[in-house]
Symmetry: C2
Subunit: 141 residues, 2 copies
DNA sequence: TCGTAAATTGTAACTATTACAAAATAGATA
DNA sequence: TATCTATTTTGTAATAGTTACAATTTACGA
């Protein structure tokens, strides 16, 4: 908990139970949750929680680079990650698993050729994951 | 126009003026428009057009791979492209220009290492584009 | 402990999209 | 070519995700 307080203080943000709940939830549940999922999870133990609080805080924490927001290419809801290194997501269309794919540096280098200065990037990939591919192979035997 | 008719027929879709309008607009305006932008543009010459028609047809054409849909990482609206090769987008945070970045093959190869079968991919990049970087250099001189 | 700026809450509004039913139409068939 | 029917179009209403706003509460520096 101390770690989240430090993080908030470093950005001159007030320490509120709601903010600590959100940070703790995101840190302990690396499941790329939506705002609604965060809301529902925290509301269980803090029934007075308002959804606006979730949105407000998510917003301020994203702006302060404490957490990251992104969306999957075929979804209309934002999703959130506790501060992580840059990565892509691979989504299996069969089992819906989400794999984090660390892919940062080589891609950024590639972009230098375009002479644009890349500051942020985001990507996601869809297909069939290793597990599902193997299941299919077994069936075919 | 003949080309759009062929395209629709190839997928056993009925030829309607609305569909031809959408295809023609997307083909001639490579501006990654949103559903609303497509709607407004076509409605000028076809005032009876309904927004539902846009959504219905966009949907059916995406499913038939006639057009592509995607969204920018920080936007909540879908955007559409006339059939193109796979590419990423680079968005300049200063001038808001969108650059198409052809980046397909090397990345897919890279993914083979993960043993997942990649079928679709999507990515976008944000930063400062070449033009805006050059402008800044001139100013500093 | 107090005062104030900031945070929280609940409600209402807004935007993008989807659901649905009635009317219109494309295009196959006679 | 006229007719028939499944498909498409339209308009309206509903929904999901998010944002705006005003009243109340709270964090925290003085």
């Amino acid at each position: 908990m101390e770690k989240y307080i430090k993080e908030l203080k470093a950005h001159k943000l007030k320490i509120t139970p709601q903010r600590l709940d959100i940070l703790s939830f995101l840190d302990k549940n690396r499941i790329h949750p939506s705002a609604d999922e965060i809301y529902k999870a925290i509301k269980i133990n803090s029934p007075a929680l308002s959804k606006t609080t979730i949105y407000n805080n998510i917003d301020v924490m994203v702006k302060n680079n404490i957490i990251k927001s992104f969306r999957f290419m075929d979804s209309n809801e934002l999703r959130f990650d506790y501060k992580t290194t840059e990565h892509y997501h691979f989504i299996c269309r069969k089992c819906k698993s989400i794999y984090d794919v660390d892919i940062s540096l080589p891609y950024l280098e590639k972009f230098e050729h375009y002479m644009h200065k890349v500051e942020e990037f985001y990507g996601d990939y869809k297909g069939v994951c290793e597990n599902c591919l193997n299941k299919k192979k077994l069936k075919n035997k």
